[in-house]
């Protein structure tokens, strides 16, 4: 298993190299003069020149690249223009909010998605199946910000049960955290839950068709054991690989959800950076989030090896 993890770590290196190159190239894609674009229309030529020097944009491209990688090697991802502090520090301040929200949403996703997928597969074509799949279809079709807005209108504006925005840290007040993140987490989770329900159902149906399920029944095992032991253990394997994708989707979705519910997370940080043309922040933040995602995927793949002996003993 350690071997699987190690191998995945190795194969992640080229991916991360290219990811960092793309992040680096992003700022250089700005049409015209990047320094002028970043400085904004009201900047004087002198200010633009100053910014150009600060960002190293006056250097030849290979020097810029060298500086960039030297910085990365030191853990220096650049400085945010807007906040006036290091990108890494700024990100670390905000990341817990996003991770908390995403984990909460992941719990919703897994609970709703896997449970409804399994029930739907076991009762294929029944009304339960149809209802679950209808629900999943709505889930994957409602944009999460629209769902969030509807929930605010209903639960915050009309019923007044939950706050419409704002954030309470978990360490300060767990109940407050729950109140401030339940709506965001649920609206964020629904899309992924729908997706997962569909995948679980088809994975389960696929497994139920396999020869070894027939063998299990031919041995006289009770139905409960056939389903819970033989079918589920195999159906979970492809589902685990999907969890990596789901985390990626959750982080993407969190950007919008945080903006909508005014949660001070990573997404909000990046959106603000984008709107105020804080490109070093965008570049560094993107690289950090993506690296985090790659690490999540390695964990997921290692978990995969736990579930599947074919991978474990390869």
């Amino acid at each position: 298993m350690a071997r699987v993890a190690f191998r995945r770590l190795l194969s992640a290196i080229p991916v991360l190299l290219i990811v960092s190159l793309i992040s680096f190239g992003l700022m250089r894609l700005i049409p015209g003069d990047p320094a002028a674009a970043i400085a904004g229309v009201s900047a004087t030529p002198a200010q633009i020149e100053q910014l150009r020097r600060d960002l190293g944009l006056d250097q030849p491209i290979y020097m810029q690249l060298l500086d960039y990688y030297q910085g990365l090697a030191r853990g220096d991802l650049g400085r945010s223009l807007l906040l006036g502090k290091g990108v890494f520090a700024a990100t670390m301040e905000r990341l817990p909010v996003t991770i908390g929200l995403s984990l909460y949403a992941l719990v919703f996703t897994l609970l709703i998605g896997i449970a409804s997928g399994i029930v739907a597969a076991l009762r294929q074509n029944s009304w339960i199946d149809q209802a679950a799949m209808m629900f999943a279809m709505i889930g994957i079709s409602v944009p999460n910000f629209f769902l969030g807005l509807l929930m605010i209108i209903l639960f915050a504006v009309h019923l007044g049960w939950l706050p419409s925005g704002g954030y309470v840290a978990f360490s300060q007040d767990p109940a407050g955290w729950l109140a401030s993140t339940t709506m965001p987490a649920f609206s964020l989770a629904l899309l992924q839950a729908g997706l997962l329900a569909r995948i679980t159902r088809s994975s389960m149906l696929e497994v139920l068709r396999q020869d070894y399920i027939r063998t299990a029944r031919a041995k006289g095992l009770p139905q409960r054991k056939v389903v819970l032991k033989h079918a589920l253990s195999n159906a979970l394997i492809p589902i685990v690989t999907v969890v990596g994708i789901i985390v990626s989707l959750l982080l993407s979705g969190a950007v919008v959800t945080e903006a909508l519910f005014s949660l001070p997370g990573m997404g909000q940080l990046l959106t603000q950076a984008v709107l105020s043309r804080d490109y070093p922040m965008v570049q560094g933040g993107l690289l950090l989030v993506t690296t985090f995602l790659v690490l999540v995927n390695i964990t997921v793949d290692t978990l995969y090896a736990v579930l599947d002996p074919r991978v474990r003993y390869e």
């Binding site: 191998r7 190795l10 194969s11 290196i13 080229p14």
Partner: protein, 327 residues
């Protein structure tokens, strides 16, 4: 009759498996699918090639046609070395050498009509689609026993046996000299299999074809072949004319293979009467040292573990690779 149409010398195909990884750091294992194989196929004959799964018989068939590029060794067709000629030059030879596949479902493009499927080789070799081509295709269809009505149908409308006929028509439309039949009747029900075997024999007589007939069914191979080659784990272990090899096989593997064929009458039940070889076929990824059969051979000697026996002439036209016959 005895001029070789195809001569393979020291032909090998090694596949790298499981390699790559980060900058190719992970060491790849080498699968020697075909290892130093030499043989000839005479013009007009049928050479049967038998062996169990993983022995490399299919790879060998594809190597001859250069559908797979050999790792080493040479292939001569009609006296000309075709091992390293370029794509364009090879195209000229492709007219003369064709292949029929096992799977009647995977061998035909589901999105092409029967006419397009059979006409494709003609079109590749410069025929213009039109009345002339259509006539040739129709004639070919009739030759393999399908009505002209089949022309504008699609593969899914046919049964397995009929699809195999379409595959044969495609292979024969260029009037090739060599046909590699890669398990061409293995996927068919026995009653249909006999039809296709008969058709292949009729066509051979009519068109003067040379066959390399690859199969795992020993009785079908005996029926259709003039000579038979036996493969085990990438090596040819015995070659002889069919009567000799079935009546007096020299290699212990050939003997075991023939002994393992189920009886054709309950009175000849083989259990307890015939020698069985124990154990499984070893993995081609990690073949035994020396003679590859030594792990299962009932006559194994110390030398077998150390040195691989060469394929040698044991009698006129009977080659075998075994230390027992080397003495």
């Amino acid at each position: 009759m005895t001029t070789p149409l195809v001569t393979a010398s020291g032909l090998s195909k090694h596949f790298e498996v499981g390699g790559g990884g980060f900058f190719g750091l992970r060491k790849a294992a080498t699968l020697k699918a075909v290892d130093e194989v030499s043989f000839t196929i005479n013009a007009g004959e049928t050479l049967g090639l038998v062996g169990e799964s993983g022995c490399g018989k299919s790879t060998l068939g594809r190597l001859l046609l250069r559908l797979i590029e050999p790792t080493s060794g040479t292939i001569a067709f009609d006296g000309n070395d075709i091992t390293r000629i370029g794509r364009m030059e090879m195209r000229g030879y492709r007219r003369s050498m064709q292949i029929i596949f096992q799977d009647p479902y995977g061998a035909l493009n589901p999105r092409m009509s029967v006419e397009d499927i059979i006409a494709e080789p003609l079109v590749i070799h410069g025929a213009k689609p039109g009345a002339e081509t259509r006539k040739q295709v129709t004639q070919m269809l009739e030759k393999v026993g399908l009505p002209a009505r089949a022309l504008d149908r699609f593969p899914h409308e046919f049964s397995g046996g009929q699809r195999q006929r379409i595959g044969i028509a495609r292979a024969l439309v260029l009037h090739p000299r060599l046909i590699v039949c890669d398990e061409a009747v293995s996927a068919l029900d026995v009653s249909v299999q006999a039809q296709i075997v008969n058709l292949l024999q009729d066509l051979q007589r009519e068109m003067g074809l040379t066959y390399l007939f690859i199969a795992h069914d020993l009785s079908v191979v005996r029926h259709i072949s003039d000579r038979v080659a036996v493969m085990y784990l990438g090596k040819v272990v015995e070659v002889a004319d069919k009567k000799t090899i079935y009546a007096a096989p020299l290699h212990p593997y050939t003997q075991a293979l023939i002994a393992a064929v189920p009886a054709q009458h309950p009175a000849q039940r083989s259990r307890g009467r015939r020698q069985r070889i124990a154990g499984d076929i070893p993995s081609a990824l990690n073949p035994p040292s020396g003679c590859r059969f030594h792990t299962r051979c009932p006559h194994v000697m110390p030398v077998c573990r150390e040195r691989a026996p060469e394929l040698r002439e044991a009698a006129a036209g009977h080659q075998v690779a075994c230390h027992l016959t080397d003495i």
